[in-house]
Symmetry: C2
Subunit: 339 residues, 2 copies
DNA sequence: CTGTTAGCGCGTTCAA
DNA sequence: TTGAACGCGCTAACAG
């Protein structure tokens, strides 16, 4: 393995000159430049990153900490983060917390030890409470989860609005006894529930929100829905606060031999391929997933460049995609309102 | 930020003793141990990884290079890799190649520069040709893709067998004009096609394999299938060589207003949630995804521990999951064979 | 068992 | 513009 001193010797210059040529920002005569580049090529020299990092105190590495990469939301976000990072010559360290605060803290400690350039975090509820980015020794951007008073850059959906619109759509289409299944492990589920509750109240309807411990799998959502579907009377509609919970609800309906929208309507979040494929299609709020990831990494890059600039927040709007699972009911309230 | 010398001073010992206590493998008196640990705690000392890596020439980092993390196969594999890595105090650097050889090479160079402990790679066809793990300066394990003569540790499905069994199942159930859509960008698709061709031949049937440039999205599969479904006569069945292509085929059938299995049967790979949800369920070969990822990282850990041991290969068997999309045809060959 | 010391490979002063 | 020398923080020899 060739070292910088080997290159210097081969080129007949000092190691400092080699370093300068490689760094590119200092003034070096063209002749030295050429000789160094030639030697680098001849020796197949590659700078030692460990040494460079020790000296420069920079790692060109960012950390991506999510609850579970298998959640399609985070899958897509991580892809965007990796894409942009790659373009900026940054490596990405991937971490899954499983909504476990201890694991999350271990990973955050790891980020400090790694001296990463920055971190993109989807925090647990516990960590989000009173969260301040400047309490950490590295730049950090939150994604997907963030409260109104959180002191950190963040990229989120307008969750309250999304929950409100999705619920209003159901009500407009004649569904009145709507049950909202929301994940209790993240701020997102609670915010969407808030919108649901507001929409129900705005129409003089009683809200029924079912908490779901939606830790990464759809299983909890399925179980909760299945339990509810055994009781009578049946609700008019089931609403999921996330893509994973929606999957669980769909499974529960299938298992209960209930067709939607005839027996029970269904709606939720994330426009994943299967929501289109399951007949007659499932109504969802679509999030611009890749865009969210891209915004997060770009916010982080800006924060790295200007550590002291004011906190910024990117709030994206979800798109309501109406499908058969919430088709208008005959003689429904929606119709009478329209009349 | 406290340094090792600060800890040494605070504890009234030498830096070497601090290093020994932290390393744990040398003999140190209990009194020094306690004092060092106390000082470490008092000063909130954290060793500098950059310095440690420069000195020890080890990074405790592994690279995971896949075509696209959004492919559910790699999503699940990456989760397993991260889990096991975490347990072994290893970090994971995530890389997406998009089946692009140039990107793949850049990432492999990066792995060298990073001096990673090892790499898990899902190689492009180009890279797989004549691949030898020992041509690289770090331990490497292949996942998902591997030829018979590849000189590298690898974890793969028995793809030929899986393609054969899936096709045989179709034939047994009375489907004879079966078209196989396979991804041309990976060895996996070709191997599964091989099994398909063999099964068709074994029953005296003509094989029709349609190449699909399945670069990470289902779109190419959808387009290819849609094109074919416009022509007459229709085939008896569509078979996908991967989960993503299966998604595309399903979309094409939906778009063509063709119901399965009545108009055309459908089968493919990967037992993802949606294959159960799309009525009447899609027949698939299920791969033990998490298991594949786990086997890969464990193979890598063993290779790291014993760099010179013989090349090993883990070949897993897929499980045929029969669903409505390939229901037995009336008066079919399957019935007559069974009679 | 403990301390002293010499690097690991590089970037960056400081003089020239 | 260029080169010599120092030190980033740590681990591993070596000597005691």
């Amino acid at each position: 393995m060739a070292r910088i001193k080997d290159v210097a010797k081969q080129a007949g210059v000092s190691v400092a000159s080699v370093s300068r040529v490689l760094a590119g920002h200092s003034k070096v005569s063209e002749s030295i430049r050429q000789r160094v580049l030639g030697a680098v090529h001849d020796l197949s020299y590659r700078p030692d990153l460990a040494a460079r990092r020790l000296r420069s105190r920079q790692t060109d590495t960012i950390g991506l900490i999510v609850s579970d990469i298998r959640n399609p939301f985070f899958t897509e976000v991580s892809r965007a983060v990796e894409d942009v990072s790659y373009q900026h010559h940054l490596r990405v360290i991937l971490c899954n917390t499983d909504e476990d605060v201890e694991k999350e803290n271990l990973y955050l400690d790891l980020m400090r030890d790694e001296n990463v350039s920055g971190v993109i975090l989807s925090p647990t509820l516990t960590t989000l409470a009173g969260f301040r980015a400047r309490d950490y020794p590295f730049p950090m951007v939150l994604v997907d989860r963030c409260d109104r008073d959180t002191a950190a850059d963040a990229v989120i959906l307008d969750n309250v609005d999304a929950g409100y619109r999705l619920t209003t759509h159901l009500i407009d289409n004649g569904y009145r006894r709507n049950i909202f299944f929301y994940g209790t492990t993240s701020a997102t589920g609670r915010q969407r529930r808030e919108g649901y509750v507001a929409a129900m109240a705005a129409h003089g309807l009683e809200a029924h929100a079912e908490p779901v411990r939606s830790t990464a799998t759809a299983e909890h959502g399925r179980a909760a829905a299945y339990e509810r579907l055994r009781r009578r009377p049946l609700p008019d509609a089931l609403v999921a606060s996330s893509g994973l919970i929606l999957l669980g609800l769909t499974e529960a309906l299938r298992e209960s031999k209930l067709r939607f929208p005839d027996a029970v309507a269904l709606a939720g979040f994330d426009d994943l391929p299967w929501t289109r494929l399951v007949e007659p299609g499932i109504t969802v709020i679509s999030q611009p997933l890749y865009e969210i990831g891209r915004a997060a990494i770009e916010l982080l890059l800006q924060r790295i460049a200007k550590p002291d600039q004011a906190v910024r927040r990117v709030v994206l709007r979800g798109e309501l995609i109406e499908r058969g699972s919430t088709a208008k009911r005959n003689g429904s309230a929606g119709v009478s309102v329209a009349a």
